[in-house]
Symmetry: C2
Subunit: 216 residues, 2 copies
Amino acid sequence: MRDIFHDELEAINEDLLRMCGLVKEAMADATSALLNSDLQLAEKVIAADDAIDAIQHDLDNRSINLMARQQPVASDLRNLVSTLRISADLERMGDLAHHVAKTARMRFPNSAVPELLKPLFIDMDRTAAALVEKLSTVVQYKDTARALELDKDDDAMDDLHRKLIGALLSDDWSFGIETAIDMTLLGRYYERFGDHAVSVANRVYFTVTGEFISRD
Amino acid sequence: MRDIFHDELEAINEDLLRMCGLVKEAMADATSALLNSDLQLAEKVIAADDAIDAIQHDLDNRSINLMARQQPVASDLRNLVSTLRISADLERMGDLAHHVAKTARMRFPNSAVPELLKPLFIDMDRTAAALVEKLSTVVQYKDTARALELDKDDDAMDDLHRKLIGALLSDDWSFGIETAIDMTLLGRYYERFGDHAVSVANRVYFTVTGEFISRD
């Protein structure tokens, strides 16, 4: 009995890891579409979001099914409930990449992002990629030390977000209101992407230790 | 055995209903704080968010505990898993009210919202209140007919959101970039608040019928 349970839990965990990979790719592609006005790539990200949603659906069904059949308790149950939470966060990260891609598509053939601000978006994209990269390790190896680091790593995203808002508010902002709206929403998408990565890391930490990471 | 299970499930459902009430009050107070530059009310909403988070934590523990002790299957298990999802959505709705209140506090003693746009925010607030009002009925009575209505009701919020963006983009926008940023984010908070209400309704529908409401 126990072996079937842990085999299936392992398979579920592999799919969570696969979701991490897909979400990372989606955000990288969405940023590239955004900065290079690449309509084809934007469409690819938008279409790929269905695949991420489908994995989440499937994972949910399998997790609930496994609960019903194997009736886990204690840490096994906690583990399985966590997979439901983690897949929901990863699905949402996919949505946020999807939003970035939709903004790219909406402004095509122009770029939503003024040249001046592109370096900031490249930095946000790199930060997002680094967060998901570390998150993959956290998910794969239940690495609580790295899970604890993620919250701090995400501060870099918050700093970049603040810089972006600072640029919008500077006296020499000359790109008009529509671009300011785009920047505000795009900044929020990247910031929330980071938040969800932290949320997954916290969830893994809780699963392993039974303790919540305290946050302010 | 079954009776204890259903008693506890009923108690959990009552707490979900209580969360609906708190979230509704939080958004109403946050809007009032925003439109009347009421710092005290803003602080009240910000402080009250901890209470909403605490209920969610408690509900999660009880749900997982109940799963471990009673080992429900089929619709009972589905029900219990749904409560985890629903409480997460409601907690997030509380966060969004909290964000609105923080914007009110940040701009105090000024109002973040220009007089011209206050009627739009009053409409968004009313729409939010109506959504949570109906959602409470859905949660309390597992009312699938009303659950189906919520998605359509939320279209009103999306329309208001579009109107707000339209106002920002009109040629006679004279309130500058900072206010445009505030409006963009505030608009998104109300819009997301509506989305989460729909998500809860969909979840209740799934719990009762075993079918997902198809969305585009």
